[in-house]
Symmetry: C2
Subunit: 602 residues, 2 copies
Amino acid sequence: MTVHVDFEPVGRRGQCPTGSTLLNCARELGVDLVNLCGGGGTCGRCVVQIMEGEVSTPTSSEGKFLSSEQLAAGYRLACQTVPLGNCKVRVPPESLTTPQRTQVEGEELPVAVEPPVQTYLVTLDPPSLDDLRADAGRLLEALAQQYGVMVSILDLAVLRELPLRLRGEGWQVRVAVRDEEVVALLPSAVRPLGLAVDLGTTKIAAYLVDLETGRTLAVKGVMNPQIAYGEDVIARLAFAGESPAQAARLQELVVETLNQTAIEMCAEARVAPAHIVEAVVVGNTAMHHLFVGLPVDQLAKAPYVPAVASALDVKARDLGLHFAPGATVHLLPNIAGYVGADHVAMLLATGVTQAEGLVLAIDIGTNTEVCLVNHGTLTSLSCASGPAFEGAHIKHGMRAANGAIERLRLVDDRVEYQTIGGAPPVGLCGSGILDTLAQLYQAGIVDSRGRMGEHPRVRDVQGVREFVLVAEDEWGDGRPAITFTQKDVRELQLAKGAMRTGINVLLEVNGVTSDEINQVIIAGAFGTYIDVASAVAIGMLPRLPLDRFRQVGNAAGMGAKLALISKTKRREAQAIASRVRYIELATAPQFATTFAQAMYLG
Amino acid sequence: MTVHVDFEPVGRRGQCPTGSTLLNCARELGVDLVNLCGGGGTCGRCVVQIMEGEVSTPTSSEGKFLSSEQLAAGYRLACQTVPLGNCKVRVPPESLTTPQRTQVEGEELPVAVEPPVQTYLVTLDPPSLDDLRADAGRLLEALAQQYGVMVSILDLAVLRELPLRLRGEGWQVRVAVRDEEVVALLPSAVRPLGLAVDLGTTKIAAYLVDLETGRTLAVKGVMNPQIAYGEDVIARLAFAGESPAQAARLQELVVETLNQTAIEMCAEARVAPAHIVEAVVVGNTAMHHLFVGLPVDQLAKAPYVPAVASALDVKARDLGLHFAPGATVHLLPNIAGYVGADHVAMLLATGVTQAEGLVLAIDIGTNTEVCLVNHGTLTSLSCASGPAFEGAHIKHGMRAANGAIERLRLVDDRVEYQTIGGAPPVGLCGSGILDTLAQLYQAGIVDSRGRMGEHPRVRDVQGVREFVLVAEDEWGDGRPAITFTQKDVRELQLAKGAMRTGINVLLEVNGVTSDEINQVIIAGAFGTYIDVASAVAIGMLPRLPLDRFRQVGNAAGMGAKLALISKTKRREAQAIASRVRYIELATAPQFATTFAQAMYLG
């Protein structure tokens, strides 16, 4: 039994199983609703408006997040609402996860091209009654004779296509060799391709590379489609942990997206996905495990250990990727359950591990990984900064989509702001949230303990103070107000406190102080867009001269690319992973006192 | 649209697509009809009798094989006949491929057990906040510490089950290591299993082995299910060559049978297929290629080259086998397009390659492979002896099923015979055919040129002489006569001529004569059952004292088992394959004259 559900204005409609929540219907139909809690009714983000049709009665969860006026107007949480028949549903822009600004560019280190896969143009004598050698032996002997390359193994998929390829290409093929194995047969005029991927919790950045020259042929940023099943790592691990089928679904979603992204990038560069012979994928440990199809239960429970930490080589086909039949996916090493290969890639790309003096490298995200490089020794940890900077748990927070306020200044009592795409304001994205708190703090409206004081723009709503950024009547189009609440301040104090605690514990463990830091490297999409001065103002980052900060963009993606084109960089990544001293922040003795301290603003 | 087809007396019935031939209907319903030509209407073996229902009118092919009386009685060729509605079809026993006597036992060489997979019982410390090592690293470090075994790779499937296995087994597991890779995790009390398989064109022999002791736990012989798609290699390659889907179907059929056989043998031995960590499979080059999923076009056309000749290691899961998730299938090397890994296995098992003097080793089948060991040098060739000895192209020939005459003597003018299962006679299987020709020749009824002379039991049917072995009225049950025709003699002359030509060319190439042969080793199912004296009498085998012949049974299967339990034997197999000098018989200069000579009987 099914019901017909119509999601507008996105225009997706179709039959969905009777009894499914609207969130599941949306997933079925490919509508990416925001949801941070994985459908548990606890984040209140998947707001939709019922336009036509009967649905189930509101749950107590919905009562918490929606006013009686909103419920009367048909506003509901998609995860709590089940259609009782055909219905039409409006999805407000802030409930849609896309479009999302994605950061793919980053600073690139120059590196000698030394790819793990080499190709050789080999010409063979066709078999005859006087020369009955098998195709495989014939190929390997020609490779040895013509290039002195001794290889003994052909990948099974290569072997399966060998007879047709040799005959189809007139006994001349470009043989791709990796270690001691033939991993692909390419047409003679084709150059081997590589793909570097930064597999983020929220977004995926991919780089298509000419493996011979190291040149980037195409770059693409797309959303991680797993978002529909929980926006942060915890929600996603919980979803995957419910059943192997759900874990497999998450794996397939990413693989489908990578396949599609490869097709699009190859089309742009006028090359073929079948000529991708090597890929490097980095991500946090959870993304890594979900992508490889490794169990995540032990990752989701204390003491949070990975199934595997060392670098992995996996056949692309074993993951479902449609590259060259024998292509390999190399996964850089993880360090711990919450410090993954993306951290290693970031350290690799920024070159900080060879830095002199004291350097702090921070990759800000839902989890923020921090590494302190202290005259050559590396100490890393992860702090659960939470998704507040991605707009979660913030009353008018949202992700970096159109209409999000990304910059904000208080000028006297006026609020000046800039939105993404110049659209009318919908809410606050991470950099806007950071600016708001910094401005309120600097104007004395919020004190160092985080208490919001009196101000003409501060009002009280049901006992909670809030600062009005955009008033109800400001746009004259019935648009609701955008405010910043006392509760929002507390959320941000937790987030910035976690981040600063991480930094401080690293400094303490190393017996150094923040003013000794020579450089702070800030990586990641959020880190790229923030106003560093705001971050310093609220005390999220140490108070240092601004010229000591360097915002490097997607360093993890750049690290993946380096490891793709350079065997030396790949070895270096393994060396970095084993050099890093990992600290479990929650169990560090300094944690409690430091965290209490770090909650203060300024 | 479908029609209902009922095959009796086997009792298989069901719906089949309208327009399908009865042969295809039989395949659909799992009724294994004999057919040598793959459904082309040229072998005349798939005779059935229409009992009820309308079918298509007879084709010209059917006119060639069936008399008008037979057609009138409803006899038809299944491959030429299409049901026009529901029908009931009788399958005569001689048209059924099963039951078939299968030969699985063979002489076994004693060998030191030295398997390629070793297991180690490893006990791990569980992770804690003070010991956050990943599961994989924890396992490998314990293996190194407790056994000094340095391994760096875990098979992907093993990695995927590692976290649950470690926790489920209380941090104690039996780790199976192959080369430098962990290929399986077994419960601590479990012994690793191996499977040796002789994958014949007609039958499959499988041996379940305790890999630690080398002891055989179960043995099973089953029919190769590909038979439904052509009984000889040529028909099967033709079927596979028609489309990748058909090739894949043949591959799946064998894999399904191996999976099922493994389940049955494991049940018998009270062990589990999931504990099979290694398999060795041997077969002729065509069976090898079809099993591995390699293209066969180049194998079916001159100059008949294999895709690969050297030994192969393939993950069992990549072939669809349900063994331990990381189990390996090792395929012994092929020598040429028509001398495959089964020949290598036979040479390995019989130990002839180390024999002194002059030894001839023959594996008799549809293709007969012969090796002459001449004071340590090995020369091999394949002769297309054809399926005559399996009953094909012989008027009353049949496979070795119930009712087949397997032994026959002329005593004065009486015919004395013995049938398989003691059942009333249905036809002649290979050993019976051989006996018949030998008896007719020795009685002077057939001369050395193969001409059938006068005799009270010789009659003329439509211009063709035939010797009546069993008369029409002999059993008083309307059973048709069983005869041996002039044409049958010619078929056998071709078969024995091909075999003897192979032997003679080997002798000539080596500059030796047949009386110098110290020993003749006869391997294979047919070779086990034949009366060597008959084979010598007609000149199929050289005239030597009978004590120089040794019938060794399924030597290929024994060779597979040796390679399964001994790395030394595996290396020896590779060495044998490279030592063999291969001769393409059809292009040997002696071929034409030798063949003309070898056609003579006696």
